[in-house]
Every structure is written in structure tokens, then in C-alpha cells.
């Protein structure tokens, strides 16, 4: 690296880091690290402002409670850092000396564990083992040098079950001094998480072990997840972190294949990078994937566990699929006129049904799509591949060229191709 490029990235890095990103349209990719490495974008999130104090970069995390909106119509009291969940993404460079002040405004003690980062033992943030927990109202300081690049995370290590279940976590990006692999044009971080928020309740339940009903990217549930807007032919990096309580997430991307380039343990050698369309992100791990899309469009990106794309799906309702309920419906009209049998024809239309719902809930809800209602929610977002991403509307839908959208088959076409649906069995 020459002196000119050093000045270029260091100045931009400071400028970019001092201003939190506004929600909505992501800012254009900016070079923040040596070798033209662009800054990471945290959809629906922010980057932690870092000040310089001599040779040390200084950040301040304030742990506390606030009201968080998972999606319009569903808010809850969460815990996090600097009034958000996930906490602001920390973005620094290999070799940086960092100092983090951590102020505890929670009702109980806390610590911060710098997940995956190799540092002095007393800075590891494990309550009781490596430090005294930070009492409510007090501020502790952590200081260490980042000796290894990579994608890491941070979270409490005191009553972590509660504190993480309520939203305390964040991503920690350490750019390498010398870029590894091809330069990327877009660099995103997505933290996956799972929550238990009972329909109509106002605080996530940290006691839940298995039945999570709100699944999020960066603590947002579709349709509130901000899409990832990228350009056709651009090299894109997505850093995935998982601090869910119990579940791994197989994150699946449509419209392309990618390669796993790094984990929180380090970089994957090119020879070991195999093409994938789904990457499993285990609990307590990060995975970094890279790809170059060549098909423009609106591509789904989601956890492939089907219950993880169903916001506040109930698991106590009986399986009504296929039931003939005419007799029951007649009876129920006498017992409870407001009752309506549901689910007998499947549950795809549930999100669009006009029924009274409990307040502050998004049960079985998805979001609007260009063709119809998208009946997926939760850990779902959209990768928008555009020819000119910097001018494209992140909220706009892809305009399909004529003849490239699936539609109804005409009898003539079916007949010409020898398709007969009269007996429903194409094998005969």
C-alpha cells in the first residue's frame, strides 16, 4: 500500500464511521480500509462511531432497554446497545488498538464478550471468569489490539440467555491490512436471530427454548427487512452471524451460487471454496459468502427452515388441512357466530385474511409483492440485482422483460406439447 492510498482509506474510514447510517437506502459503498476495501453495510442497522484518541480508536456502547419495531404492527421492549438491536456494527482494521467504554443501563449487570476475537484474557468479558460483571449504572472499559482480521460478533456474557434473547448482540468486522481475495464491491452484514414474542405480548420471552416465533435478519422481520441492492456483475460479500438461542439457520439465496470464503475462524483457502446455494450458519458462528450475480431480478434470500419464514406462527392449532367442516361450520354458527374455520385448504392465504387480530402482532404475515402477497415473513429478505444499483430504487420491483414471467398455460400450448391433465397423472 502506498502513502496515497493509505491517506485515502484512513480519512474516509473516520468520516464514514463517525456518522451512523440512516435507515432506508443504503449509502454507496465507500472505501474504508487498505486496498480499497469497502465499508460494510448493515441493512436496517448502523455502524458504531469510533473516535480517535491518540493511537487508539474509541467506541462507546450503552446497554439498555428500548422499544424495537420488528415490523410495522409489531413492537416490543428489547435490550440492546445504543438503542438498537443488533447493536451498531463495529468496523475496524487489523492492527487497530481499540478502546470500548461500556455503560450499563440495564436493570442487571452485564459484560461484553468479543466473540471470536483473540485478545488478552482479562478483556474476554466472561462474568466471573475473566472480569467482574458491570453493575447497573456503571461504565467499564475494554482495550485491546486487533491482531487478526475477520468477521466476529459481540454479545453479553452475563445472563446471556436473557440478554441475548432480548436482543443484545452485534457484528464486529476487522478488515485485513492486506485484502484477502478479490476486492468486493458490496459488503453486507446480516445477523440472524430468533425470538419468542407471544401474539399480543410486548416483551420477548427469554425462557423459550424451542418454540421461537419471530425470526429476523438484523432484528427485522419481513417485510421490514431492508433489501440488499447490488449490481449485476458486482462482487458481493455477505457476512452472516448467528447468535440465536437454539437454532442454526440454513440461509438460501436464489438466482446465484456463492462460495464460502471465511468463517469467524479465518479465511477459507480458495481451493476449499465450494459452490453453494445454501449456507448453514451455526449458532455462535459467522459465515462469509461471496458471489457475482449475473441475473438481474428480485431474488429471495431466506432461512430454509420453513417455520423460520413464518412470523408468529402458532404451533398449537390442530392440523385442519383437508377436513370437511361443513357440518362443523353449521354447528359453530350457533355456538360462536364470529368463529371462522381456517386451514382446511392449507395456510397460504392466512396472511391476507381479513380477520380481527390481537394488537401488536403479525401472525402468519408476510408482505406485499409485485405479483401478489408474499406469504413468507420472518427471516426473509430480497437480493435486488440491478444493472445500475446506485440509481435504482431499493424498494422498487424488478421490471421483467416480456415473456420471462411464469403464467397460466393455454390449452392450445398444452395440447401442442402433449400435456393432458384430465386424469391428473402425467406418468400414464
Amino acid at each position: 500500500m502506498d502513502r496515497r492510498s493509505f491517506l485515502k482509506w484512513s480519512g474516509l474510514a473516520t468520516g464514514a464511521a463517525m456518522v451512523e447510517q440512516a435507515p432506508g437506502k443504503p449509502p454507496p459503498a465507500q472505501v474504508v480500509a487498505p486496498g480499497g476495501q469497502v465499508g460494510v453495510v448493515t441493512p436496517n442497522g448502523a455502524t458504531l462511531p469510533m473516535k480517535r484518541s491518540g493511537k487508539v480508536k474509541v467506541g462507546h456502547l450503552i446497554a439498555g432497554e428500548f422499544e424495537h419495531e420488528f415490523a410495522p404492527g409489531m413492537r416490543a421492549l428489547a435490550w440492546g446497545y445504543n438503542g438498537r438491536t443488533p447493536g451498531p456494527t463495529i468496523e475496524v482494521t487489523e492492527g487497530d488498538r481499540v478502546r470500548f467504554y461500556v455503560t450499563n443501563r440495564l436493570p442487571e449487570p452485564t459484560t461484553v464478550h468479543w466473540h471470536g476475537i483473540i485478545l488478552p484474557n482479562g478483556m474476554d468479558g466472561v462474568a466471573g471468569l475473566t472480569q467482574r460483571p458491570i453493575p447497573p449504572g456503571e461504565t467499564y472499559v475494554y482495550e485491546f489490539t486487533l491482531r487478526h482480521p475477520g468477521t466476529f460478533m459481540y454479545h453479553p456474557h452475563f445472563d446471556e440467555m436473557t440478554q441475548m434473547a432480548l436482543g443484545m448482540m452485534g457484528m464486529f468486522i476487522v478488515h485485513p491490512k492486506v485484502p484477502v481475495g478479490p476486492r468486493v464491491d458490496r459488503d453486507f452484514v446480516l445477523m440472524t436471530h430468533e425470538w419468542r414474542l407471544d401474539v399480543g405480548a410486548r416483551r420477548p420471552d427469554p425462557n423459550e427454548m424451542t418454540d421461537f416465533n419471530v425470526l429476523t435478519f438484523n432484528s427485522k422481520s419481513f417485510p421490514a427487512t431492508e433489501p440488499l441492492l447490488v449490481g449485476k456483475g458486482e462482487r458481493v460479500r455477505i457476512r452472516l452471524g448467528n447468535l440465536s438461542a437454539m437454532d442454526h439457520h440454513p440461509i438460501h439465496l436464489h438466482g446465484l451460487s456463492f462460495k464460502l470464503t471465511a468463517t469467524d475462524g479465518g479465511y477459507v483457502p480458495p481451493s476449499a471454496q465450494i459452490p453453494e446455494t445454501t449456507v448453514l450458519v451455526p449458532v455462535g458462528s459467522t459465515r462469509v459468502i461471496e458471489f457475482v450475480p449475473d441475473e438481474p431480478g428480485d431474488w429471495a434470500m431466506h432461512c430454509h427452515m420453513t417455520h423460520h419464514v413464518m412470523t408468529q406462527m402458532g404451533h398449537d392449532a390442530p392440523n385442519m388441512v383437508g377436513a370437511d367442516t361443513r357440518k362443523l361450520d353449521h354447528r359453530m354458527s350457533r355456538v360462536m357466530p364470529d368463529f371462522m374455520t381456517m386451514g382446511t385448504l392449507g395456510m397460504g392465504g392466512m396472511g391476507e385474511m381479513e380477520m380481527a387480530m390481537p394488537p401488536n402482532s403479525l401472525p402468519m404475515r408476510g408482505g406485499p409483492g409485485p405479483f401478489s402477497y408474499i406469504d413468507m415473513g420472518g427471516m426473509f429478505t430480497i437480493l435486488k440485482v440491478r444493472d445500475d444499483p446506485d440509481r435504482a430504487d431499493p424498494q422498487g420491483w424488478y421490471a421483467h422483460p416480456a415473456g420471462t414471467v411464469a403464467g397460466p398455460a393455454s390449452p392450445q400450448q398444452m395440447s401442442a406439447d402433449g400435456i393432458d391433465v384430465s386424469d391428473g397423472n402425467p406418468e400414464r
Binding site: D198, V199, G200, Q312, M313, G314, D316, A317, P318, N319, M320, V321, G322, A323, D324, T325, K327, L328, R331, M332, R334, V335, M336, D338, F339, M340, T341, M342, G343, M347, M350, M353, M355, A356, M357, P358, S361, P363, M364
Partner: protein
């Protein structure tokens, strides 16, 4: 009444006319009972009536509409045979009063004797003696006074019966009405069970649940059906006592009642000076007081009888045989009879009357204690049932409705299934069932308190049963068959 007494006493004292002419008629008995009960008792109660002549016109009119508790009481007053018999029983006491005031009859003695000279032809000599017992004539006045107290006591007794009948009719009416209302609620619960059964059947046929779920729901439905059948029997059983109290038979037994028990009144009855008011109003105490006075008068009468010699005065007319020499003329003379109360001074009878008085006095005082206790008990019952019924009316039922509403919302949000919705609905109906029972208890306790303040302790204020309710729960224990 004081004027009546004075008139009657004067008449007895003078002995001019028969006491029967001044005895109160049945109308006056009825008027007196009406006065004692402060109830608008119909005049027809005193009229003679045969069963074959049908019911009073007013009864027919009242039966045309669904009955209210007030209408049922009115019919009972018009038509209850025991009440009519009780009114007529007053005639017994009235007859005894008449008899007590009757003056003794004079004694006439006619004596025919053979003349002393047997040689003379048979021409008997004649002696006529007329005597009148003065002591009994004087004592009849006192005896009538004692009997008058007995008549008044009997009227108090009849008045108490009227008040008690009113309460009994109300209690029976509320019991029937509640039973009918419970069946209606239980039928809705049964529908909910049937819906759960239908749902499990539909799910089983779709292959979504095992047969165990269908069997479980079937069993729950059949259990509920048995419960409803029991409640239906209870309606019939609650109907007949009311039928008897109203004195109805034949086509007149097809009456209906208003569908639901009235909601609780806005204000509870006043409990100020309750014990004093109950004691003052008590017809039982008043009756016992009259009986005490009667016993005292009988004891006094016996004391007088013991010391008062039996005095009778008379006139003697004698006529010698006309054939006897110097005879044939009437000779006149007087006679005075009296007994010397040396041995029989009516000690035994007097002692018995005094003992009766003492016993009555003990009972009177004990009754006063009981009436006060009954007043407190009636107040406690009204307050307790009002508190519980009001809690259901104002808090619990709305809370159950809220649970139902929120359950339906959770169902809409697919957080709950149909079986849980139906279970909550049954629990809501269960609360309504309990509320109906509490309302019945409240109105029964209310009627008992009113009866107490009208002068009569009733079953509810004498520690008797308040009436049994049917099954208290229809919610069923089957949580859900489909999950």
C-alpha cells in the same frame, strides 16, 4: 280492633243478645289478615268456590302471559287451597270465642208429689224451682276475653302463613326459573361439545388425528348430554312444587315463566335497625303474645273460679194439692245455692294454666332471640349472595367475555385451535351457569328477608336448605381432541 273488643265485651256483659251476632265474619278475618300482612290479598279468598267451577277469572288472565314472581304469588293467594283452608280454620277460634261468651242457661225443676193423706183422690202437690248460676254468668265475660285473644292469635298465625306462602312461592318460582335457564345454558354448552365432536370427526376423516381423539370427544359429548338430561329432569321437578303452590291442575298447568331471572337490583335493601324491625314485625311473636295473654286470662279465671263460690239464686213456687184442706193456693219462696271452696279450689287447673303460661313465655323469649338471629342470618345471606352475584355480574362474566374475545383473536392468529376455543366457550357458559345459581340464591335470600320483615321467618332464615342447584360445571375436562 279495640272498639270491636269494647263492643263485644259490652254485649257479653249485658247478655242481651247472642255473642254469635257480633263475631267477626270471614270477611273481617280476611280484612284483619290483610291488615297484619300489609299484602293486597284478594277478596275472592273469602268466597266459597268449588274446584269444578274452575279458577278465578284473574288467575286465567295471569296465566295467559309468562309468569313473573309477583304474578305467581298473586295466583297462589287466589288459588292456594291450603291458604283458603287456613282462612277457614279461623272459624274454629271464632266459634270458641262465641261459645266462651255464652251466658249459662237457667235451671228449672218441677216436682210433683202425692198429697200426705192417701185417702184423698190423686191430686199431686206441685213445686216449681227456677235457679240461675250467677258465678258462671259473671265468669263468662272473662272467659270470652281469653277466647278473643285466641282468635287474634289464630289470625296472626294465618297472616304468618300468608307471608310464608308468598316466600315459598317466590323461592319455588326462582328455583324453577333458574333450572329452566340452566338448561338453556347447558344446551349451548352441549352444542359446544357437539362442535368439538364434529371437529374431531372431520379431522379424523381427513386423516389428521387418531381415532382416540374422536373417541375422547364422543365420550365428552355423551357425558355432557347426560348432564343436560339431568338438568332437564330438574326443570320438571322444580315445576311441580310451584304447580301445587299455585293450586293449578288440568289445562291450567301449561303455564310458562319469564325466561331469565331478573338482574340484581341497583341497591340492596336497607339493613338499618334490622333486628328491631324484624322483632317488631314478627307475626309469630305477636301470635305468641296473644296466646300468652289468653293463657294469663285463663289462669286468672281459674284463680277466680277457685275462690269464688258457685252462687246460684232461684225462685220456688209450691202449690199444695187442691183437694187437701186449706190448700190449692200457690206459695212463693226464694233459694240461694252456693258451694264452699274448701277442697276444690281449681288448684290443678290453675297450676296447668300457669305452667302453660310459663312455657309460652320461655318460647316467646326464645323466639325473640331466634328472630333476631334470623334477621342477622337473612342479612348475611343477602349480603353474601349479593356480593357474589354482583362480582359475577360486574366482573367475572365480563372477564369471561374478554377471555372469549381474546381467545377468538388468538384463534384468528392461529395461535390456538378450535378445541381450545370451544373449551373457553364452555368455561364461559360454566360461569354463566354459576351466575344463574347465584342469582337464584340472591333473589331467594331477598324474598326471605322481605318475608322476615313482613313478620315471618322462612326456611331460608331458619337454617333450612336454600334449594339445590343442578350440576355446577359443564366445562368438561377434555382439553382438546386434535392436538
Amino acid at each position: 280492633m279495640g272498639a270491636d273488643r269494647r263492643v263485644a265485651g259490652l254485649v257479653l256483659l249485658l247478655g242481651v243478645v247472642s255473642p254469635g251476632c257480633v263475631s267477626p265474619s270471614m270477611q273481617s278475618d280476611l280484612a284483619r289478615v290483610r291488615e297484619l300482612t300489609h299484602l293486597p290479598l284478594p277478596q275472592q279468598m273469602a268466597e266459597a268456590r268449588d274446584v269444578s267451577t274452575g279458577f278465578p277469572k284473574e288467575v286465567g288472565q295471569l296465566l295467559q302471559q309468562p309468569l313473573t314472581a309477583d304474578a305467581a304469588v298473586r295466583i297462589a293467594f287466589l288459588n292456594n287451597r291450603e291458604l283458603r283452608a287456613s282462612l277457614r280454620d279461623l272459624g274454629v277460634a271464632r266459634g270458641q270465642l262465641l261459645q266462651a261468651g255464652v251466658l249459662p242457661n237457667p235451671q228449672v225443676e218441677l216436682e210433683l208429689r202425692q198429697q200426705e193423706d192417701p185417702s184423698l183422690p190423686f191430686e199431686p202437690q206441685t213445686e216449681i224451682r227456677v235457679e240461675y248460676g250467677l258465678s258462671q254468668a259473671v265468669l263468662s265475660v272473662v272467659r270470652a276475653r281469653a277466647a278473643r285473644n285466641e282468635l287474634e292469635a289464630a289470625r296472626y298465625r294465618t297472616a304468618a302463613f300468608v307471608v310464608e306462602l308468598g316466600y315459598t312461592v317466590r323461592a319455588a318460582f326462582y328455583a324453577f326459573q333458574a333450572a329452566q335457564q340452566r338448561v338453556a345454558i347447558a344446551t349451548q354448552a352441549l352444542d359446544a361439545f357437539a362442535a368439538a365432536r364434529d371437529a374431531s370427526q372431520a379431522l379424523f376423516e381427513a386423516g389428521n388425528v387418531p381415532e382416540l381423539d374422536v373417541a375422547t370427544q364422543d365420550a365428552a359429548y355423551e357425558s355432557a348430554r347426560a348432564t343436560v338430561a339431568q338438568l332437564e329432569l330438574e326443570v320438571l321437578e322444580r315445576r311441580e312444587p310451584l304447580q301445587r303452590l299455585l293450586g293449578l291442575h288440568g289445562e291450567a298447568t301449561a303455564w310458562t315463566v319469564t325466561e331469565t331471572l331478573p338482574r340484581m337490583a341497583g341497591e340492596e335493601p336497607s339493613f338499618e335497625n334490622l333486628e328491631r324491625r324484624a322483632v317488631t314485625a314478627s307475626l309469630e311473636l305477636a301470635e305468641t303474645q296473644r296466646r300468652l295473654e289468653g293463657a294469663a286470662q285463663r289462669a286468672g279465671l281459674t284463680r277466680v273460679e277457685g275462690w269464688l263460690p258457685e252462687v246460684s239464686v232461684g225462685v220456688i213456687a209450691e202449690r199444695k194439692s187442691p183437694v187437701a184442706p186449706a190448700h190449692g193456693e200457690w206459695e212463693w219462696g226464694g233459694v240461694l245455692h252456693f258451694t264452699v271452696p274448701l277442697f276444690d279450689r281449681r288448684q290443678g287447673t290453675r297450676s296447668a294454666y300457669e305452667a302453660e303460661f310459663d312455657a309460652l313465655m320461655e318460647r316467646y323469649q326464645g323466639m325473640a332471640i331466634d328472630v333476631r338471629s334470623a334477621a342477622r342470618e337473612a342479612r348475611n345471606r343477602v349480603q353474601s349472595t349479593a356480593l357474589r352475584a354482583r362480582q359475577y355480574q360486574q366482573v367475572l362474566l365480563p372477564a369471561r367475555q374478554r377471555v372469549m374475545r381474546q381467545t377468538l383473536l388468538q384463534y384468528n392468529a392461529m395461535q390456538l385451535g378450535i378445541f381450545q376455543v370451544l373449551q373457553v366457550r364452555r368455561e364461559q357458559l360454566d360461569a354463566e351457569l354459576t351466575y344463574v345459581e347465584l342469582l337464584r340464591e340472591y333473589w331467594t335470600a331477598h324474598a326471605a328477608l322481605e318475608a322476615l320483615l313482613a313478620g315471618r321467618r322462612t326456611g331460608a332464615s331458619m337454617g333450612g336448605p336454600m334449594g339445590a342447584g343442578g350440576p355446577s360445571s359443564l366445562a368438561g375436562g377434555t382439553e382438546a381432541g386434535g392436538h
